[in-house]
Amino acid sequence: MAQIFPEWTNKLPPFIALGAIIIVIGVIGFVWYYFSPWYTDVGYRPVQPVPFSHKLHNDDLGIDCRFCHNLVEVSPHANVPPTQTCMNCHKLIKPDSEKLAKIGESWEMKKPMQWIRIHKLPDFAYFDHSVHLRAGVGCASCHGNINQLEVVRQNTPLSMSWCLDCHRNPDMHLRPVSEITNMYWTPPDNQMELAKIIRGDKDINPKTDCSACHR
């Protein structure tokens, strides 16, 4: 009887097996990274209606974060300042600047500015800024070196595993409350001892059960 398959097909099975293993691992790895916020969200940097520079205001001029985001220590939500906050200064400083035209318009028309939101959490995840600040997590721990940026970008994935990484092992991210808005603070050599004191003083035991965030 004639052969159905040519001889080289004898060598195929190991390649098929190897290929299958590579494909399965490849697909899992691909989804793991490319479907996660590490890939989809980090680096999101939309063009805002007014080119507000955190570098200028915070780093060069030394205005504290809480001058504008004034409710961050007492509220779950870190408020974006209203036009009135801008006008506190800009009534007198560069009132005619072209870049500020939209702020002026908003002020005249009594209509809020339409800033584009960057840091979004899903509705089913509960997050409270004030709790984290009181525990001693600095702005920079999540938002990065925002004081160096002309245009704000998302610095961290805000994914569930990212939250859990810190909740399971928060010691490297705790600092004295007086330093929370200090963008140049770095953990001292005795950070572990410092963290132990902070955690002891405030009884900080970050929750990792489902209902901590999914309430």
């Binding site: 159905i4 398959f5 793991w32 569930m160």
Partner: protein, 465 residues
């Protein structure tokens, strides 16, 4: 065969096939011919019906995905309804295949050869039907992959302390092992099909599937050893899978579920319903394809005996549950069982008792054990009863839990029923494709038990074994 020579035939013809009419060639022609002939019209009719039901299943699942599990009749105390009942029922049906192929193989029960291919295929299709239900009952089907331990950006990992996760592993392991066993057994038969094929495409497909089988001495030795090893691997699975399924219930603290008897009781029930399904399907197939000389009345009788045995094991479990409820002195346990027999769902309980305990008793009578119409009706009633067993377990315990303020009556909706009925569509579609394109009886193994295969058989003057 129903005369005095039967005992001799038992020894000289371990495969129980009526050997006089069969030679190696006529057997090959008979079984291969079924798939090589022009498709009979009755097959198209059956396939059309099965495929329509499959579309009903797909429609029901589609609406479920769109709308959510609210379309089912679930209510506040009864959070597990038909989906779990159907899952357990289908998995149970899947148990006969591996029992026949693995345990009966290791026990040298050579009469299994005529029915094992059939029963194994049925097992695979039943497990597919079963796996649909836990897959779709999660509500958000697009995250069903959370059941598998796959790394992800949420740091989500399955809870290994949950029996529901054990279920995922138990049933998927069972499916994989059954598939490998079935396929390994098929290889020599697939090679026969390849050699008989006339068309190029058929040659290629069966050529790939038969993995280069030439029937050499060395290949046969490897094959036999692989089959033996797979039988050894599959044997504990027959007992473990339904034991794990029973822990879904037994690990909880609900009266009526929290019972140590559950694992063996579920395994017996699974084999019971599995054999009933094999009998139902076998009777139809042997009639349509005139296989009465290969799947003989002796085979059917042996399966009926197993149903009688497992039916009584199930009946024993029902009674011991009542005994323990009384003996425990636990008022909740006692209430649950009295409520089962005399409460809101007493109708379901008595359907279960009649079908599962009373119906198999007819198999004490040899004449009925060998009467095809009797066993056909009985096998269907047994599967009805086994469905109601799971209904009674799931629904009565949940609908009457610890707090009377929670109590509610559970009723299925249209979508519960259409999903269940549709799952038969999937089952029969796959089954009809199987009997159309693959050898539904293991030619290799039946040949090995033909009298001609044994040099010491009656025809050459000696007795086997």
């Amino acid at each position: 065969m129903a005369n005095g020579t039967e005992n001799i035939a038992e020894y000289s013809n371990p495969g129980q096939v009526t050997g006089d009419k069969l030679s190696f060639k006529s057997l090959t022609d008979k079984i291969s011919g079924i798939t090589e002939r022009k498709t009979p019209p009755v097959w198209f009719v059956a396939f059309g019906a099965a495929f329509s039901l499959l579309l009903v299943l797909l429609g029901s699942i589609g609406y479920l995905v769109w709308e959510g599990v609210g379309i089912w009749g679930l209510n506040n105390p009864v959070g597990w309804g038909w989906a779990i009942i159907n899952f357990v029922w289908w998995v149970g049906i899947g148990h006969a295949g591996t029992l026949i192929s693995a345990i009966l193989f290791l026990l040298r029960q050579r009469w299994r050869t005529s029915i094992n291919r059939f029963a194994e295929a049925m097992t695979l299709f039943a497990i597919m039907c079963a796996l649909i239900f836990p897959g779709i009952h999660v509500g958000r089907i697009w995250v069903a992959y959370w059941m598998a331990p796959i790394p992800n950006q949420m740091s989500m990992w399955p809870n290994f302390r949950s029996p529901l996760l054990w279920d995922v592993f138990a049933v998927s392991t069972y499916f994989t092992a059954s598939l490998l066993f079935w396929f390994t057994g098929l290889i020599p038969d697939l090679a026969t099909f390849r050699d008989r094929a006339k068309k190029k495409l058929k040659k290629l497909v069966f050529g790939i599937l038969s993995l280069g089988w030439r029937g050499g001495n060395r290949q046969w030795r490897h094959y036999e050893l692989a089959y033996l090893i797979l039988a050894g691997i599959s044997t504990p699975l027959v007992l473990s899978v339904h034991s794990v399924v029973s822990t879904d219930f037994a690990v909880s603290i609900l009266p009526g579920w929290h019972t140590t008897i559950f694992p063996p009781y579920f395994v017996a029930g699974a084999i019971f319903s599995g054999f009933a399904m094999v009998v139902t399907l076998t009777i139809i197939a042997r009639k349509i394809y005139s296989l009465e000389h290969i799947i003989t009345i002796d085979h059917l009788e042996k399966m009926n005996k197993i149903m009688l045995l497992t039916g009584m094991m199930v009946g024993y479990a029902y009674s011991i549950e009542f005994f323990i409820a009384w003996y425990s002195g636990n008022i909740y346990e006692q209430f649950v069982f009295l409520n089962r027999a005399f409460g809101n769902y007493a109708w379901a309980y008595w359907i279960m008792i009649s079908c599962n305990v009373l119906v198999p008793q007819i198999f004490w009578v040899k004449r009925w054990r060998r009467a095809v119409p009797v066993m056909f009706v009985a096998s269907i009633l047994i599967n009805v009863g086994m469905w109601f067993e799971r209904f009674v377990i799931v629904v009565t315990s949940l609908s009457r839990d610890f707090l009377p303020a929670n109590w509610d009556y559970y009723k299925p909706t249209f979508w519960d029923i259409s999903t269940f009925v549709g799952s038969f569509g999937l089952f029969f579609t796959l089954f009809l494709l199987f009997i159309r394109f693959l050898p539904m009886i293991s030619m290799t193994e039946v040949k090995a038990v033909l009298p001609q295969a044994d040099p010491h058989s009656r025809t050459s003057g000696g007795l086997d074994e």
